[in-house]
Subunit: 221 residues, 2 copies
């Protein structure tokens, strides 16, 4: 997914060409197992994960799995979910899951906007409008309330429950599929530096060494 | 201004205590002279300046001056502005100027939201709502359309025209009040590393060395 162009770029692309560094090694994949209303999750997502990805998207992949400490039980072929921070959190998880399914990587700015807002749920619709003015909120809610969302959230449950070692808290971070205390601590302290240091290819300009950006875009006087 | 708590923190603060590194040297001050609709300005603001500030706010100050290559003339005690990208840009500059005046540092997430959106102007009101649900849009527009905004924009003009050397393009960056080609290039390539390297005190955890964060916030299983 790191080869996809982050949505911000699509917005700006019409006006300029940004010279993305050509990656010459596998991206560093960071997975975040989280809950939409968990304060530590919001903090990591807003202050580390998304800003790091904005700057290092050429060498980094992200997988967001909103579920965390939720639980599920099956009832007549559908799943019923219980969330650590109540029904609002289940709704927040489901909205973000549906956004990720509908928009892929381009859901990130919408999720950043939600998670950094005062009220995660109230922010969802205006945040979608800022980045996807042509996507109807109803189409998100159809997913959220329908079988599609139910199925997607079950996949999050399966994915979360398959973690080895199992998660003990959230935010729970894996780097290239691996979780250790050391990786978790480094990611929480400075994901930016962790990703730069783990990337085996030529470092992009953002890592402060190696390749230079070819051109910058200016508006002349 | 680096001693102020970035708004995102206020949102999250109610639920947790984040251990901000205690700075022991002067912050690195980055000023951005820009225009609201200039693609290169949006790129720098969205991909470098704000993400860097999110991660390095303990050791960094930001001054945003939306004016750039605009021009002003005085007419009967008021100023009339002409902007490089037309009237929409003048309006965008004015909205951001008023937000900065009303909200200070807490305007940054709103401006990030606007500048990263599909339509800077259309995004303004929903972006304000996400971060300041209790601030009326009318209060922003009163500033934008009134004497207050006119006076503030004139201050931006004075500040921009006082630059030494004078700006030749936007985004035009000064670091601790100084502009050189080398500083501009480093800032455009990797503001994050530039700020870490220029900061004379103990490096914060985000810089990838030195102090460790005291605690991280987790939601236990």
């Amino acid at each position: 997914s790191s080869s996809l162009i982050f949505f911000f770029f699509i917005v700006l692309e019409q006006c300029m060409k940004f010279n993305v560094t050509k990656p010459n090694a596998a991206p560093v994949n960071v997975s975040l197992y989280y809950e939409s209303l968990c304060p530590g999750c919001r903090q990591f997502l807003v202050f580390q994960l998304v800003p790091t990805f904005i700057m290092l998207q050429d060498i980094m992949g992200i997988d967001l799995v909103p579920y965390g400490n939720a639980q599920e039980k099956e009832d007549q072929g559908k799943y019923i979910f219980t969330c650590q921070h109540g029904e609002d959190e289940c709704l927040g998880n489901m909205i973000e899951t549906c956004l990720l399914s509908m928009l892929g990587i381009n859901a990130f700015p919408v999720i950043l906007c939600m998670e950094s807002g005062v009220d995660v749920l109230k922010a969802a619709q205006p945040c979608l409008g800022v980045y996807f003015p042509d996507t109807k909120w109803d189409s998100v809610m159809n997913c959220v309330k329908g079988d599609e969302g139910n199925k997607l959230m079950h996949q999050n449950a399966v994915k979360t429950n398959a973690l080895k070692p199992p998660h003990e808290y959230v935010p729970w971070i894996t780097v290239n599929g691996e979780h250790t205390d050391a990786l978790q601590d480094k990611a929480m302290d400075s994901l930016f530096n962790l990703v730069c240091s783990l990337y085996k290819g030529d470092k992009p300009p953002a890592c402060g060494q190696g390749l230079k950006k070819k051109t910058n875009s200016y508006c002349m006087n």
